[in-house]
Symmetry: C2
Subunit: 648 residues, 2 copies
């Protein structure tokens, strides 16, 4: 990172709270990731993923469908889903956040052109959904369970807010406002339709539109939608978040992304209105979700069938669904909770999700994607590719995930830091520059680190009020068994509080330096005993990274018979030439010799049974296990993979 790049970027990012919002923390006004791990991943997003968007959306038919709806092009509707438009909107949102950082002329032209297509496709009364306009004329809002009309509207609104916030331009915002007004007139209290969209998204978008325009009707409408869920208006299914009102719900359920977008909206509402019951419901549901329905990668969703959360502790490995979109939605929800409550654990989950469940969704070269993110691919797995396969794919028939990752990556710096009355908080250790107003004065902290390869994070006070103390708060990650802190090169005792924050209150001066060292020793991790799917297994972690074994690193027999020796030490090994440069963890293990089981795979076991660790004295097939970070899997070949490694 060169010091000359340290300009404060524009204050464009999601979740720009209003002055009246009641939260513990507030997003920072300035944020820039300027080096290190995330800078490299974002460069791929900015240089490969986002620029390819228009051509991919053209090839998949989405832009054609907009022209079709506008009456400017002949042809048939293309694409199989009523939410084709939302892929365009999510790309626009990603491009808009990117434009806040660098006003690339080609990207600006693409955004302008596609904004024009969107505006042209809008009906005079504000309605816009090309699927219904072209193939279901006259049947608006007849199928709220599956129609996705308000879901698409939500993504349009989010894109418009991003575009306006980033560039000050109003073209897309005007389209969004027209649609929002139409929706308010149709679905608002007293309007002709009592209902909501089976796929939440418009709710949180309406809160953001309120934040951007100051028009309180949108906030009211968002609250109305959130509270209409759970009364059976859409048939009472958990899939549509309609089985039980959020305020009474005890655990997350149904379609994971739908649940998470709804929760993000509820957290937004709690922040903007001070609704304590809603805030308590969000906290309760986040805690239940994390304790019982979250994979170690932060992945969410246990069922392929209906993309459902599944039961508590039902966390399969091969069939982990962990939709990439659910990882995006989880970050959205958790960040709102972090601001609302000020507790560090929300950013613990964000860190885990970003480095694992989310980042695995995009190939290292930015060219291919995963929709589902399994924790195990077996030897001999047959897979035809496509949307819900365990194989990276260029684009999906249902292409919700790629532009969702793009928009999150393009706005990533806004999840790194926050301020409150006492000072500034660092949530994520991403090299860069973060600042806002602290105690009435502009305050900027820069972060310098090679995290997650190193656990050393150097923070420098760049600007600060110099006449009064304030608190620099550092999140001590849940995974770090210990840490050290030096301030101005003097080691100090600074334990983290029960809420996960290490607080350093000082009268700071520009140039002051804080160095945090986290415990980066690789570790073995076990699951709650009720997670039946991984009983007798351990996972390997280092820092925030979950690791996994890949077949390509273990030639000669696949992974179905690999066993780890948990009594032997782990080693971290830097591999600068591997997969863009990373640190692997090695462990001792062996290949189990398949039992002579005969034709039937189940057999009587002795009473003092054989279910304990198998201390085979021969150690036949001893081998070194090499665990790469999970985010990097399936970038060399399509083969077996496993996160959870049997201990016997």
């Amino acid at each position: 990172m060169s010091r000359s790049t340290l300009h404060p970027p524009p204050a464009a990012g999601p979740v720009r709270l209003t002055a009246g919002a009641r939260t513990a923390l507030r997003p920072v006004g300035n944020a820039a990731i300027l080096g290190g791990f995330w800078h490299r991943r974002r460069a791929v997003n900015a240089d490969v993923c986002i620029p390819q968007g228009p051509a991919l959306l053209e090839a998949a038919g989405n832009l054609h469908d907009l022209r079709l709806a506008a009456g400017g092009e002949p042809g048939e509707y293309r694409g199989d889903f009523p939410f084709m438009d939302s892929d365009v909107y999510k790309w626009l949102e990603a491009a808009a956040w990117e434009l806040a950082r660098a006003d690339t002329p080609q990207l600006a032209r693409d955004v302008e052109r596609i904004t024009g297509l969107v505006a042209a496709a809008q009906e005079p009364d504000g309605y816009l959904n090309t699927w219904f306009q072209v193939t279901r004329a006259g049947r608006r809002y007849e199928d709220l369970r599956w129609g996705h009309e308000l879901y698409c509207a939500g993504h349009l609104i989010q894109a418009a807010v991003a575009h306006h916030r980033s560039t000050g331009k109003k073209e897309l915002l005007e389209v969004a406002v027209r649609f929002a007004d139409h929706i308010d007139a149709t679905f608002g209290p007293g309007g002709p339709i009592d209902g909501f969209d089976g796929h939440p998204e418009v709710e949180t978008a309406l809160v953001e539109l309120y934040r951007e325009t100051g028009e309180r009707r949108y906030l009211t409408l968002a609250g109305h939608f959130v509270d209409r869920h759970g009364h059976g208006v859409l048939g009472g299914e958990a899939y549509c978040q309609d089985r039980v009102p959020l305020r009474a719900q005890q655990n997350v359920e149904g379609h994971a992304v739908r649940q998470l977008y709804l929760l993000a909206a509820a957290a937004d509402l709690a922040a903007e209105t001070g609704d304590e019951e809603l805030a308590a419901s969000c906290e309760r549901l986040w805690s239940a979700m994390v304790a019982t329905k979250t994979h170690i990668t932060g992945g969410l969703g246990a069922h392929h069938d209906e993309e459902d959360f599944g039961d508590a502790y039902e966390l399969p490995t091969e069939r982990a669904y962990c939709e990439t979109c659910a990882a995006v939605a989880s970050v959205h929800f958790s960040w709102r909770m972090a601001l609302l409550t000020g507790r560090a654990r929300y950013s613990d989950l964000i860190e885990r999700t970003l480095f694992n469940g989310l980042l695995a969704g995009v190939a290292l070269d930015g060219e291919r994607w995963l929709y589902v993110n399994p924790l195990q691919v077996r030897d001999g797995h047959t897979d035809g590719g496509g949307d819900q396969s365990a194989r990276r794919t260029r684009w999906f028939r249902c292409a919700c995930c790629p532009p969702n990752v793009m928009r999150l990556m393009a706005s990533l710096e806004h999840y790194v830091a926050s301020t409150d009355d006492a000072g500034l908080q660092i949530h994520q250790y991403a090299a860069g520059r973060y600042g806002g107003e602290v105690r009435g004065a502009p305050t900027i902290v820069s972060a310098h680190t090679d995290f997650p390869w190193s656990g050393r994070i150097r923070l420098i006070i760049e600007e600060s009020p110099q006449d009064r103390p304030w608190t620099l708060s550092l999140r001590i990650p849940q995974w770090s068994a210990g840490h050290t802190v030096t301030v101005a090169q003097r080691r100090i005792e600074a334990p983290a509080g029960g809420d996960g924050w290490l607080r350093l209150e000082r009268t700071w001066s520009p140039g002051d330096e804080v160095v945090l060292e986290l415990d980066m020793r690789p570790r073995l991790v076990g699951a709650d005993a009720r997670v039946d799917a991984v009983r007798g297994c351990v996972a390997i972690e280092r820092g925030p990274l979950v690791h996994c074994l890949e077949g390509v690193d273990h030639p000669g027999g696949g992974l179905d018979d690999v066993v780890i020796d948990t009594t032997r030490p782990l080693s971290a090994v830097e591999r600068p030439g591997l997969l863009g440069g990373l640190t692997v963890v090695t462990a001792s293990g062996r290949r189990r010799t398949p039992a002579e089981a005969g034709w039937w795979p189940y057999r009587s076991v002795p009473r003092a049974d054989g279910t304990g660790p198998d201390h085979n004295p021969h150690q036949e097939g001893e081998l070194t296990l090499t665990a790469i970070p999970y985010y990097a899997w399936a970038n060399r070949e399509d083969g077996p993979m496993r996160v959870w490694i049997p201990a016997f």
Copy 2:
């Protein structure tokens, strides 16, 4: 069982091989289950399930749809699937087998009436599918992947064969022959359509029609259909059994029921034509399926999504699909393999499937059904009921399973015994009377047993050639750790051969008695180490029965934290008053005290880790585990259940 009931029943049953068939064994001409366990289960089938069929088919719209197609009734088509007719045909088949045993006037009238509806709905050219006739006129055979037209034809043909074989009546057979001739003209080699049905069933039905009518065209057409699979004609998907030709396939794949019906047809063809390549493929695929893709209950199918087999060793517990229809299909396939090869293991799997995976599909009172048969239901499982839930349901929207169980149960005696040139084989230990021609003379053996509650089976020679020796062969079940045999009250040494048969060659006389004692001690069973889903767990079995824990027997805390102590003995306890009378197995266990894990359910483990059996010296929460037979679960309340019990 009273001796006076021992009349040889009519020789009506499925798989009546032709004289030219080349199999190791042949079905017996006479078979009657006359007491004991299966007699009681069949009484429910005959007295409750089958008589209720017409009213249920009326309520679900199937009979209405037939009248609609016949033009005799106004109204809209009812039901959501193109295979509504097959439910009617499967019921007719069940009723036909039942009529072979007891010519109940009401049942005979129902069969006659419904046969009339079917005949009236048939088109003049032989085509018959009410869904297409009513809702898709002119679009026959346009959607072979999903249209199920030949699938329904297959069930019609099977029903017609059963009806003709059981009663000698031709009405339904004539309908079936007209449809079969239409299909042959349309799809036969050189016909206008090159294709097959995405859901196999017509193939095995055509072989049976050949057996019933002697018309070789039907056998040829069946062979043509089987060999057209796997060449991409239907798009190349495993779901439709179109990814790879059966003759080259290495493991079962795709939709489980589709795969199994296709394999049953292949085995039928191998039997009737002597096609050794096809026979070898069937053996290879059966062995791969059993070794890698079969649940301990005999249940098949690991994915809810597409009702798919899943990968080798992917055998989840909560999401075990194990469709009841797949259990029926597995019995069909395995019985054909038992006859083809003469190996006892095929009947081992049949026994396991009948007593567990299949029988669980119908409630003890015959009033409710399971479509999927999970091996675990968690504490707090939320379930809306319906087709693919873990809750017993009165009838399904997709009601394939109930009449499938009915037809299997109604023909159960035909899977019990066989003959060959050397003598008679007893495959299943069902009290009754079984006989055929052995060495040119009528031979009958009666079986007297309370199996599976007792392991004692008394066999009495009722009729026999008295001037020449023949071999009585008894299957020694895979699960029996030892057995004793007495012949005429003298204990003899008689081990089973490598093929699973215990052979007793004698010159037998009427009244000769053989007593077989199997090892009925309850046992703990573990899985192949590659079955990750159940690592560190054991199952409890006794005889052919897999047992399970139910929440209702373990009040005060559910089953998610139950642990078995595998060092303590198991006990079998007769419970005549429980669930119609059964033997439970008790074991020692405890309730795990949930760890203080904090908000995140994964945590570092010591190197010499905590994954081994937890010999908690305090044994807090010690409790006696009571395991009922799996077939009887969910007959008291809808609560938690588990087959696999953690050992730590």
